[in-house]
């Protein structure tokens, strides 16, 4: 399987096209089968991945426009590998739990197209290919929100599209400038990201380009103050849309940060640590407080998801292996946990057609199995040890502590404020007496919901107890990334701040 990555990217798209001819009755089974095959392929990719080698693997290269150095260039390393698996896993789980009734065929086809774009973004190493997948991912999502959303769906969908699109245009300008600078330096055009990594730019160029890339990525993350499209998108999107959006699409932003500006502009990244960290802190604390004020369950989860993304960004800018590995791992756990939380909100929405917490209360008594899983996921979201989130959050914060103790303490309030809004959500909805008649005989989780949710719980706990199989490869790639940045940086400050592993591991 030399072309495993191409297969991974295009298999869902081809399957989606074929989906148009599949009958409506069997489309669901068809979709799940495709997603399962895709997931197994990604697992196969993991199994044949050499965890000890930090560089790009399974590289595919096919020149597209040689005169401009644009080529079809794919590859994975420890950083992107698991996000690819996350995408295929979440798509599979989302399809299993899919509860949309109308137009199910179009929904499944959109989801499979979306899967192509997601995998495409994470494996492309050519800026143009990357950008194409990046923008294409907006289309199925736009359709999912716009066609299956709530009352404000058109407004939310257009806002989502235009906002992120505007951001990525700025990033595109940055890419073009980057390619031109590369041309100036070397005499040949190239859009290869790995080539760009090797280009050493003077400080002022670095800063402007960093800003261009950062804006595009920050809107996707979404960082404060560019976050307001997300609550609308989540508020209006159908459950499956929110799951994919929170679990995978937002990761494009944080993954992009690790892949693009950090190695390309190490000095500018170091220079920008403080402003970025301040934005992240505002994002962590402010959105956590906003989450507490929400009346709608889904909005609590939406804002909490923004708040945790702040910790991820912070970990990325720790500039040491602990922090960056932690932040990449946190991306995965955030994907699993927030995906699960959105799915859980969807479960109750399907039954009651409302998400207002005041409409519930005492659900623990009526739906004990649902309450159990919600409890586990609430605790995972709060970052309890032995869940995935703890590993990511702990490492991100431990890493950033080296950069700034004071800001780490402020960021650490996320563990307190997270507990405040999550426990308040749980208390309002699940504890207390059953006050609304309608809630008295709600049906507990059904088979497909249980299956989807328990597999998410399983992953959360497994990787919380034994993160090594995932964290190991991530850490290898991150360590080489950090020492690369350290080597490449030109200012003394960056040399000082970017710390490859300084503490020797004790002999084992």
């Amino acid at each position: 399987m030399d072309h495993i990555l191409s297969v991974l990217v295009f298999f869902p798209a081809v399957a989606a096209l074929l989906g148009f001819v599949v009958s409506k009755d069997s489309i669901r089974a068809y979709g799940i089968s495709v997603a399962l095959i895709e997931f197994l392929l990604s697992i196969w990719l993991w199994m044949s991945f050499d965890g000890g080698y930090p560089g790009m693997q399974f590289v595919e290269m096919l020149p597209l426009i040689p005169s401009f150095g644009i080529s079809y260039y794919l590859g994975v390393d420890g950083i992107s590998l698991f996000i690819v698996i996350l995408s295929t896993f979440i798509t599979l789980i989302g399809l299993i739990a899919l509860s949309v009734k109308n137009d199910i065929k179009n929904m499944i086809i959109s989801l499979l197209f979306l899967e192509m774009t997601m995998v495409g973004v994470f494996v492309s190493l050519d800026a143009i290919v990357f950008y194409v997948f990046w923008e294409l991912s907006l289309v199925p999502m736009l359709y999912i929100i716009g066609a299956w959303g709530g009352n404000l769906r058109i407004y939310a969908a257009v806002k989502f599209f235009l906002y992120t699109f505007a951001g990525s245009l700025i990033m595109l300008v940055g890419m073009l400038v980057m390619a031109y600078l590369y041309y100036q330096a070397t005499g040949v055009w190239s859009f290869s990201i790995t080539e760009w990594h090797r280009l050493i730019l003077p400080m002022n160029y670095q800063i402007w380009l960093f800003v261009a890339f950062f804006i595009g990525l920050a809107i996707k993350v979404p960082m404060f103050p560019f976050h307001t499209w997300l609550p609308y998108a989540h508020g209006q999107a159908p459950t499956i849309g929110s799951i994919i959006l929170a679990a995978v699409l937002l990761k494009m932003g944080t993954y992009g940060l690790v892949r693009l500006p950090l190695p390309m502009f190490p000095d500018a990244s170091v220079y920008m640590i403080t402003p970025v960290a301040v934005l992240s802190l505002i994002m962590i604390i402010y959105t956590a407080m906003v989450a507490y004020a929400q009346e709608d369950m889904k909005q609590v989860v939406a804002y909490s998801s923004i708040s945790h993304m702040g910790v991820i960004v912070l970990g990325t800018f720790a500039m040491n292996p602990e922090g960056i590995s932690g932040s990449v791992f946190f991306m995965l756990s955030h994907g699993i946990v927030s995906g699960a939380l959105f799915m859980l909100v969807g479960v109750i929405y399907d039954r009651r057609q409302t998400k207002l917490m005041s409409e519930f209360g005492g659900l623990a008594k009526v739906m004990p199995r649902y309450a159990t899983i919600m409890g586990i996921m609430v605790m995972a979201s709060v970052g309890l040890p032995l869940t995935m989130s703890f590993v990511g959050e702990f490492l991100s914060l431990v890493g950033f502590y080296q950069v700034s103790p004071v800001m780490t303490i402020l960021a650490g309030t996320s563990i307190i404020l997270g507990a405040v809004y999550m426990l308040s959500l749980y208390r309002k909805s699940f504890f207390g007496e059953v006050v609304h008649e309608k809630n008295r005989d709600l049906e507990d989780l059904n088979g497909k919901e249980s299956m989807a949710l328990w597999s998410l719980v399983l992953v959360t706990v497994w990787l919380g107890i034994y993160p090594k199989p995932v964290l190991g490869p991530i850490n290898n790639s991150v360590e080489s990334l950090v020492s690369f940045m350290h080597e490449k940086s030109i200012t003394d400050e960056a040399k000082k701040v970017i710390k490859p592993t300084v503490i020797e591991r004790e002999a084992e």
């Binding site: 407080m289 906003v290 791992f329 004990p368 032995l386 490492l395 780490t408 207390g432 090594k468």
Partner: protein, 618 residues
Amino acid sequence: MEAYLYTALFAPFVGSLFAAMFSNRPKNLVAGIAASTLLFVSWISSVVLLLHVAHGEVVHVKMMDWIQAGGLAIPFGFVVDQVSATMMFVVTTVSTVVHVYSIGYMDHDKSFNRFFAWLSAFVFSMMILVMSDNFAGLFIGWEGVGLCSWALIGFWYERDSASWAASEAFIMNRIADLGMLIGIFLVYWNFGSLQYDVVFSQVNGMESSILMLVTAFLFIGAMGKSAQFPLHTWLADAMEGPTPVSALIHAATMVTAGVYLVIRANPLYGEVPEVSHFIAGLGAFVAIFAASMALVNRDLKRIIAYSTLSQLGYMFVAAGLGAYWIALFHLMTHAFFKALLFLGAGNVMHAMNDELDIFKMGGLAKKMKWTMIMMTLASLALAGIYPFAGFFSKDKILEAAFATEHYVLWTTLWVTAGLTAFYSFRLVMLVFFGEERYKIFGFHPHEAYKYMLWAMAPLAVLAVIAGFFEHDFVHFVSNMLPIEEYHVSSSTFWTLVAVTLGIAVTGIAVAVFAYSRGGFSKKLEKTFIYKLLFNQYYIPKLYDDFICKPYAEISRIFWKDLDLKVVDATVDLIAGTIYKLGMVSRVVQSGNLSNMLRWMGVGLLALLLAAILYSPIR
């Protein structure tokens, strides 16, 4: 020995999983029995390990890797040395008793199975906490006990007060946990490892300012778990949970985790006198502060909760003075008699249909002879009367304070000893003796099941005899903890003992005398002091008014006024402006020919003007 270690650790976990399988089903006695049996197995293993390490050997195992990133390597490693063996013994002893007792106590509860699942899960977390060989592992247990405490305080989640108390406990602990986490970060970046042995071996070369930060931040964590001022309010509210939970978690084990942390990290704390003195001072303050609130409270369980708080203060004084073994010793004896006291209170609640107001009780001794005897035993031990367990450990703390010339601490603790004796016997008198007020309220009390009484018996025995093992205990822990000989002349020593016993007896005498004659006059309740104490110094109200409510209000403002009206409105404004501009400029292409010609003219003029203004030949 490894097998015993793993058995001791994982038996409660298996019990928990087993009970959890039935958690949504109707009561299943097997769940309770299995969980209790497995805890008994864990207890046996702990005793075997205790005897093993008594020879001075330490069992240290590494189970597997946990987190490895950059230079950070955290394994799941466990160590059984004299300190953790003592803790394991205390934890498993009290838990086994409480489990067995709970089979009777929770008999009629519909969530019987869920109760045992959580109770055993708690013990498992606590075992991780005390057995871990590194700070991160400790933190796992630390958060684990917090989780179980949340679930058990809110066990009767239908009650709003219970779920509120559960959240309060969790969040309050989380605030402290942030401090602890920062302490752990500091340890990692300065010592390069989180393993106890690696860290402690480097203490000598470390700058004192760093040690001070490390110890201070770790102590913040301890303050949360051990409910020290100003993070103490959750403990009294935690009494919403079932009484066996209060006995196990909120008296004997979890709340002592903070003390354990200080004892465990004694090589660090021993080097930083400033922080240690602060710990001792805070401990003494909490001792008298909590005791004063216990004086006037009317709630059976809250009185005992405040007394727990007060006794934790004693332990911190000992630890802060460097007398770590005394702190550990008091931790142990306190666990026995305080759990006994709580279980006795559970019997009373059973008899009184969960009534908690001690002023609605009285004269219960006739109906509940054995409960009365055991609670009196426990109260005597708490008051520090010879020959009960509390006498030995508490007296040692006072002696340590006196011998190290901390007379203010000594005086505070001495007065507190009097208060302790008074409120303990106020409780005993109001519940078991005097007028049978319960008749007015229509209760029909009855003695608890024989079974429950027998379950409590081991604790009663330990509450009486545990003190006599003082010398064995000193010998046992001498490998691990610094043992200081206090040089006080024997006359001073005996004077101290007499003075301490004197105030305790006086306290008891006052309580017995006053409450056998119907108590104090009602006028006292009008005084400012009474109101202050009764309202817990208005601290919960203060927290509510100045933290909770403003937080909720600011959150709402952030959402409604800032997020929606400023941040999002700006985005919409930009988008709207662009949209309107487009709408306005549409007139240029309205399709009306004369209109378009006019615009063409305007455009032509503008171009000409531009050409003239910017012309290169001018």
